[in-house]
Structure formats: structure tokens, C-alpha cells
Amino acid sequence: MTIILDPTDERKPVARQVSPRKAAISGTVGLMDIRKPRGNVLLDELERQLMATVPGIKVQRFAKPTFTKPCPDDLRREIAGKVDYLIEALAD
């Protein structure tokens, strides 16, 4: 781990900034299975509830090759190009 000192006036938190949230969900929602057991069960239910509560949206499913490794860059790019939101499911 590397420690660096903050070069700014420290008025903003350093942690990676969360993307701005929109007021309402629209467009395409990606659901990503990280490939832990029963992640699909959680995502199936999530998809069902999303489609029921937010009519008009599309849902697209993705899956990482394995939960033990970070998401491959190609998949990351593919997701970024296809969806407006992404929900990544943990499981266990």
C-alpha cells in the first residue's frame, strides 16, 4: 500500500467519488452476476421487482467469468456502453 499526502485544500472527501445519482430510473439497467452461488436467485428476484415497479425499463444480464477475479476490462467496457445503471449482486 502506498500512502500519499493530499495536495488539495481538503474540502472534498478523497474516497473515489460516487457517480451522480439521477432522480428516476430509465433506460437500461444491467444486472451483473459475480458468479457466486445463488447470485442468480437474487438477481432474478431483483429483475422481477424492477420490471414490476419501473415499467418501461430494459434489463440486461451480465456475468463475470469468476467471482475470484476483478471484472475483465472488455466486459467493463461492454457494460459501460450498454447500460445506464448497473446493479452488481453479491451472494452467499
Binding site: 500519499i4 485544500d9 478523497v14 476483478p70
Partner: protein, 529 residues
């Protein structure tokens, strides 16, 4: 001896903790595995342990990690080898050489100390310890040992250890927020993501580097250097040092950076406006005086860029401070239509030695032996003024004047706008070919050759800029015949000398809105004594 050594707790190779000093005397011998002299000394220390170990701890702090085991096995050591792989105890005890031998009392007071391997010293110590403990002396075949061997440098003095250890010790001076970057994160990418960068890679401002950078100034880490617009962020010496590290500066540049920052953060310079203007201004930093040589600034060949670390990184540090501490970032308060490359960095030294004139800082009221930073708000440049043919002083001065017609727009005259003219040595030689040619005369010549009748400044189908047609009509032909030079006064023409001896190419920086409405050039003495 009155020297007293600090307490330590280190683990043996089998995991037991040994804490010293106390209660009684002890023998502490610092070693590292790859030091030949330590390997000469190790069996002797083992013999001391056999002879005195029951009455007094005989321990060997070793700096070599896995090598500590190698050392043990090589010599069949049974004495406590203490793991000082982190070198913290070596650092705290301030040793320089290994082996380093300390016979201490119960309070850490040093009874005897020597370094390396001088056989007589070891023999003397053997006798002293035996006498003090009332035990027979350790049995050692002294004749089989060399009379003298120099030791090796202690591992804690290697930069990768020393800087970290110093940072741990002096870390209390650092108040800036510490950012932990996870192992899986790329440090360079992280800094880009956080918006710390000007678009180019940064040197990670680790505590070690920042502490080293702060050694470049006598000012205390939490001293306030300046309040930096637009966010009015507080630039302490520490914050300046952090950004200086990121910019790639050396510690000795700090006094120049501090003076330049003080200058740009004055009301007169108005870095808020300089940053915010859509015209795209940037500080141009000129350094005068002895510090130029001391820190290796470039005033000659390629003085205006690139290739010199001091020139490049001092200017960059100022820009990073304005961006990071002041919050002046493109798209935020920084609103430049096009931007310009000077916004990365623009800093150079005047070639005083090649100048026939008083240098810039002397003209501005400082002593020649002072080191001084002067900052100008410039929107364009350096713009070349090419004249390879003129051989008469007034000719080359005339060309320089004509070369300045482009400031803002050739059509516009009477401009209350600064220019910073950088005259090259070959043009200096031509100017001086008939005897002294003062700066005042050059300024007057620039104004003379750029005089144009006001009627040429009236808006017309070619260019709508200038005097509106309706106003021109009211002025009448006589007033429109009056001549207007390029600049509203000679005081707007700032002149320095820089560059190499080959090439008839002077250059000019074009200003922004000069005066209280915009920015005024500011000089600050560099505190470098």
C-alpha cells in the same frame, strides 16, 4: 561517556521478545549478513555470549531479514539474534557502520562503543567485561583474526530505509490528510482519477518525499505561505511541498516556489482573474539573481523550454498549487476558451551575464545580489520576432517593435497591456554594435515604429475590431490623423535577456488586461539564505 541509547524491543529468530536496556549491563552488536566484517565478528560475539551470557545479555540485532537465519547457520550462533530487518533500532541508535558494538549499562548509558573490526578493541572489551563481571575472559583465538577490517554502511542508511524511518520519526510535522492507496490501485492512475493532475503524470507525494522537499526551506511546515484563489485555500509550506513533489521539483527549488506563490497570490497579480479569464492567461515566472545558478536554472540555450528540470517544475508546481489548493481547475473557475501551453509551466531565468542592461530585478528596485522572482500574467507567447538581416541598432530595434504589433491584434494600438520582451544575445550584439543602447531607447523605438494614425484603427469591412465607425465619424479627420503607438505607455514594455549565443530570434509574451482591472506584474525576493 554520557551518551545514552533508547530502549528497544525486538524479537529473536525464535519469536521471543528481548527488551533492552535494563536491568543490568548488556552487549549489543549490530550486524548484517552480507557484511564480511560482521561475519568476522560474529564468532567473537558468540564467544562473548558463551563466556558472559549467563550474567549479561549478549545480543546481536541483525538487519538482513532471511539473511539473519543464514548468518546464524553459517556460524552456528546460539546467542539471541534480534530481528532488526526494519532497521528501526539501528536508526534510533544512530549507528553508521556495522558491526557496531555497544556495551551499555542498565540505563542505556554507553560504557564502550566501537565499529568495524579492530582486534585490539575487541580484546580490550573482552578484558573490561570479564573484569566487571568477575568472570574468566572469553576464550578466543585472537591470532586467527585479522588485526583490522573496516565495517560496512548500516542498512538503515540506504535511502529506501532512511527516508521511511525519517518520515516515521518526523511524521508529526505533517498535517495533510493521508490517503491510503490500495495495493491493487495504480498510484499514478489514482492521482489522475482524483483530479490532482494538470494532465501529465505526477510524482506520488509520499510522506518521505514531502519531508525531504520541506528540507529545502527553513520555514516551518505549517507556516502559511499564501491564501490561494479562487477557493482561498490555505497553502502551508507542507501543501506547497506536496505539490512541488508532484511537479517533480528538487528541495532546493522550494524558496523560489514559495516566492513565486506569494507573488501570484497578491491582489495585484490577481491569480483568480488570470485563472478565470476566457482569454487564457497564465503566470510567466522570471527568476533573477544568484539562486538561478544555485539551483541550476536555464537562462541560455532553450531557456524558454524544454529540458531543464528547475525551469520546468517550478512553473508546474505553481500551476498545481493554484489548481489543487486554490481549486482553479479547467471547467471550474478556469474558463479559458482555448487554454495555452504556458498553463502547464512557464518559468525561466534571465541571462544577466549576457545582458548589457540592469537585470529585471534591479530595474524593479532590488539589489543585484538579491534573488528575485517576478510574475507576469501572459496570454500568448513566446512569439518569435525573426530578424536575421538587420545590422544597425535602430534597425533591429525597429524589427522588435514591428514584431510586437501582433499583441492582441495588429490593428489595435494604445493598448494598456503588458508585454514581456525576451531579447536574444545576437540581437543584443547588434543593438550594442555602435555603443550603448539603453532599454529606454529600445522602448522608445518600439513605440516610434509602431505609431499608426487612429484612422487605421477604425472598424471596417476587413475587421470590425477597433474604433466603432459612429465614434470615428464624430472624431473627425483631424483627430483620426493623430498617431497612436502600440502600447499606451513605455511602462508596459518589460525587457529581459535570455537565450543562447546562436540565433537572431527574440521573442515576446503578450499580456492580458494590465492594471487594477486585471493583473499587474509582481516581484518577490527569494528567501534563500
Amino acid at each position: 561517556m554520557t551518551d545514552s541509547k533508547p530502549a528497544f524491543s525486538l524479537k529473536t529468530l525464535t519469536g521471543e521478545t528481548v527488551s533492552l536496556p535494563g536491568p543490568g549491563p548488556a552487549l549489543v552488536v549490530f550486524v548484517k549478513e552480507d557484511c564480511e566484517t560482521c561475519n568476522t565478528a560474529a564468532p567473537v560475539v558468540q564467544a562473548f555470549h558463551r563466556a558472559y551470557g549467563a550474567a549479561m545479555p549478549v545480543v546481536m540485532p541483525a538487519q538482513s531479514g532471511e539473511g539473519n537465519h543464514v548468518l546464524r547457520d553459517r556460524h552456528g550462533l546460539t546467542l539471541p539474534i534480534l530481528d532488526d530487518s526494519a532497521c528501526r533500532t539501528s536508526f534510533d541508535w544512530d549507528i553508521e557502520i556495522v558491526p557496531s558494538v555497544f556495551w551499555i549499562d542498565g540505563n542505556g548509558g554507553v560504557l564502550s562503543h566501537f565499529e568495524g573490526f579492530v582486534r585490539e578493541e575487541w580484546q580490550g572489551l573482552n578484558g573490561q567485561i570479564a573484569a566487571s563481571l568477575g568472570l574468566p575472559a572469553a576464550q578466543i583465538d585472537w591470532d586467527s583474526l585479522p588485526p583490522w577490517r573496516p565495517g560496512c554502511g548500516s542498512q538503515h542508511l540506504y535511502p529506501e530505509y532512511f527516508d521511511k524511518l525519517t518520515a516515521e520519526r518526523d511524521g508529526g510535522q505533517l498535517k495533510a490528510r493521508r490517503i491510503e492507496i490500495a495495493v491493487a490501485d495504480d498510484v499514478s492512475e489514482f492521482m489522475f482519477d482524483q483530479g490532482f493532475s494538470d494532465g501529465l503524470p505526477l510524482v506520488p507525494p509520499t510522506p518521505e518525499r514531502v519531508l525531504r522537499m520541506m528540507q529545502g526551506t527553513r520555514r516551518a511546515p505549517q507556516d502559511l505561505v499564501a491564501i490561494v484563489p479562487p477557493n482561498m485555500g490555505e497553502a502551508t509550506v507542507e501543501k506547497v511541498a506536496i505539490n512541488a513533489v508532484m511537479a517533480g521539483c528538487k528541495p532546493e527549488y522550494m524558496p523560489v516556489i514559495i516566492a513565486a506563490l506569494e507573488a501570484v497570490c497578491t491582489d495585484a497579480f490577481n491569480v483568480h482573474g488570470v485563472t478565470a479569464t476566457t482569454m487564457g492567461a497564465a503566470p510567466v515566472i522570471v527568476v533573477n539573481g544568484p539562486i538561478r545558478e544555485r539551483i541550476g536554472m536555464n537562462k541560455g540555450l532553450a531557456a524558454l523550454g524544454s529540458g531543464n528540470r528547475a525551469n520546468a517544475t517550478i512553473g508546474r508546481a505553481i500551476r498545481l498549487i493554484v489548481g489543487n489548493v486554490g481549486g482553479g481547475k479547467p471547467g471550474g473557475v478556469e474558463r479559458s476558451t482555448l487554454g495555452n501551453p504556458m498553463k502547464y509551466t512557464m518559468c525561466f531565468a534571465e541571462n544577466e551575464e549576457r545582458s548589457p542592461w540592469p537585470p529585471l530585478h534591479v530595474e524593479r528596485g532590488f539589489r543585484k545580489e538579491d534573488s528575485v522572482v517576478t510574475v507576469f500574467a501572459m496570454t500568448g507567447g513566446p512569439v518569435h520576432i525573426v530578424d536575421q538581416e538587420s545590422r544597425a541598432p535602430d534597425q533591429v530595434a525597429g524589427s522588435i517593435g514591428l514584431g510586437l504589433e501582433g499583441v492582441f491584434l495588429p490593428k489595435l494600438h494604445n493598448l494598456p497591456v503588458d508585454t514581456l520582451l525576451v531579447v536574444c544575445p545576437e540581437h543584443i550584439d547588434t543593438l550594442m554594435s555602435d555603443g550603448p543602447y539603453s532599454k529606454e531607447r529600445l522602448r522608445a523605438r518600439i513605440q516610434a515604429v509602431t505609431q499608426r494614425p487612429l484612422r487605421e484603427m477604425v472598424a471596417d469591412p476587413v475587421s470590425g475590431a477597433g474604433i466603432p465607425a459612429a465614434i470615428a465619424e464624430k472624431m473627425g479627420a483631424e483627430r483620426l490623423a493623430a498617431l497612436a503607438p502600440k502600447f499606451a505607455g513605455e511602462q508596459y514594455i518589460h525587457i529581459v535577456v535570455a537565450g543562447s549565443d546562436a540565433g537572431k530570434f527574440s521573442s515576446a509574451f503578450h499580456g492580458w488586461a494590465t492594471g487594477e482591472i486585471g493583473s499587474q506584474s509582481v516581484s518577490r525576493r527569494v528567501d534563500s539564505d
